[in-house]
Amino acid sequence: MNKTLRKSFEFSSLREVGIFIAFFVILAILMILSPNAFAKPANLVNILKQASINGILATGMMFVIISGGIDLSVGSIVALTGVIAATFAHPGEYPLIVPIVLSVVIGAAVGLLNGVSVAYGNIPPFIVTLGTMTIVRGVALIAAKGQPVFNVTKLFEGIAGGFVFNTIPHLVVYFVVITLVCAFIITRTVFGRRVYAVGGNETAARVSGINVDWIKIAVYTLSGFLAGIAGLLLASRLVSGNPTAGQAYELDAIAAVIIGGVSMAGGAGKWYGTVIGALLIAVIGNGLDILNVSSHFQLIIKGSIIIIAVLLDMKGKGKQ
């Protein structure tokens, strides 16, 4: 008995490093295939930049999925908050703080609405966020009158567009800071522990005195808040707010979380898996672009990787 226990324990930790191995193998292959373009330091920084927005969304998604839910509304929140941010960023109108505060507050408010509907309305998270996904997209289109919002200040453009020390894009800095703060929250705080407890066994969590409703509301609000930040950053990067932006971003965020080994059933998963998941998606996209693989083929490859990752995940759990 003891021996089989130890074996399954080793296997599970092996699986945890498995995602790292897979990531570095793919990275190495692309570097060998394209030593002059892909492997250049400037391109590697570029990959980090490309991973940033999805990485921020995936971090919020991770909290929701660990708690046993799902958030399909983040892509639409990105569009709405981007439009709002750009609308309030025209030259000579409002100070820079207005678009910043508005986008995160509106993002968090949509998340709060999701959370309250899931917790108190007892509606399945898939349905709630499918609904808000559609509603928020509609609001974004109305707010932008169906057109992209251009004409933003240089200052606004500088939020995501600039570099630190002329090398590291601002986007990457936001991604790293948000990831580290969220990693601290999920691993070291009482709140983080309760998110796992709710996703692991909701009834037991309630019996243990945890306010399950409050935890659910908090994770959706956090996801919406981060989606608001992502919307602001995307608008700044694209120097415009586009109501059709962020389509299917929620799926990329979910893919990053799943590839990173977070269980769709909730209660399990590690933050660094999500980071690797987001990086892996960016690495593959970037590498295949450089290798001139058509974007149509890229979809097939990306989809296959999601399925393989979940397959490995289930195999690992089955052995336990």
């Binding site: 130890r6 324990f9 705080t189 309760r194 407890a197 066994n201 037991a204 969590a205 019996v207 269980s263």
Partner: protein, 336 residues
Amino acid sequence: MDEPTSAITEKEVKTLFEQIDRLRKQNVAIIYISHKMDEIFKIADRISVLRDGNYIGTFPANEIDNDKLIKMMVGREIKEFIPKTDAPIGEVVLEVNNLCRGKHFQNVSFKLHKGEILGIAGLVGAGRSELAECIFGITRPSSGEVIIRNKKTNIRHPKDAIRNRVALITEDRKFTGLNLKSTVKTNITIVGLDELSRLGVINESKERRVADKFIDQLKIKTNSRNTMISSLSGGNQQKVVLSKWLQTTPEIIIMDEPTRGIDVGAKRDIYLLMGELVKAGKALIMISSEIPEIMGLSDRILVLAAGRLTGEINRPDFTQETIMRFASDFSSGNRI
């Protein structure tokens, strides 16, 4: 077959035994592992005993009785198996007055004292677990009052009960007791996490110490505090459930079938722990369907039948017949 009946119904057990019988007639050899004594005696030809990883012996089933078998399994005499600890019984800590919850139970009133083990007996469906869940705030009563340490309380959520130093070890550890997707450590500390943290940040070294303290104190058999709880045996999982509630330093502990589905060694450890708890001045309520256990440990037994309190028996008057008579008393009036 390793504990084949642990997750199936009475009727399915019967079917299983018929199939075992059929296989035996076809000269199939079967090794049947179980902690349920009645099953072992019903189907085994020979019985082997293992204890703590050591082989104790093999005996023909008709040459050995229940008491001898348990003695070999725990290494002690049967009468020592359910040890009754005498603790001084003190003041009333919990008073329940005319508590009702819909059709689940009606007009339940009783008092629980410091240092006392109050048994609650009854048939399945008598409303015992529902009563415990209601006192603990998992469900709300439709009427009646709960007085804790002379103060009327309004418990609306388990967290209110925890704040009032009440603990509930639920009947079903897999569904309501544990987070099976997590480790031994996080399961032990989840209820009392606020006391192990500052400004919402967990003091991890303190948390590790608490987990190790309980693993050591309750003799939880686990590779480490970071082992997944799902890989532990039922008895050790149950000890983790007890740990997680003891960590909140409760004064009133309600145990709903605390020894269900666990091996005799762990059972005895839990009985001994209950003795230590009452000696430390805690008040215990034990809901149990195992008559020897409830008679062996309780100072007083309340009997529920169809949601009504039908009897209260003091320790000198405990007999199986009295308990069963009250338990099957479905006349509408309340006797007490």
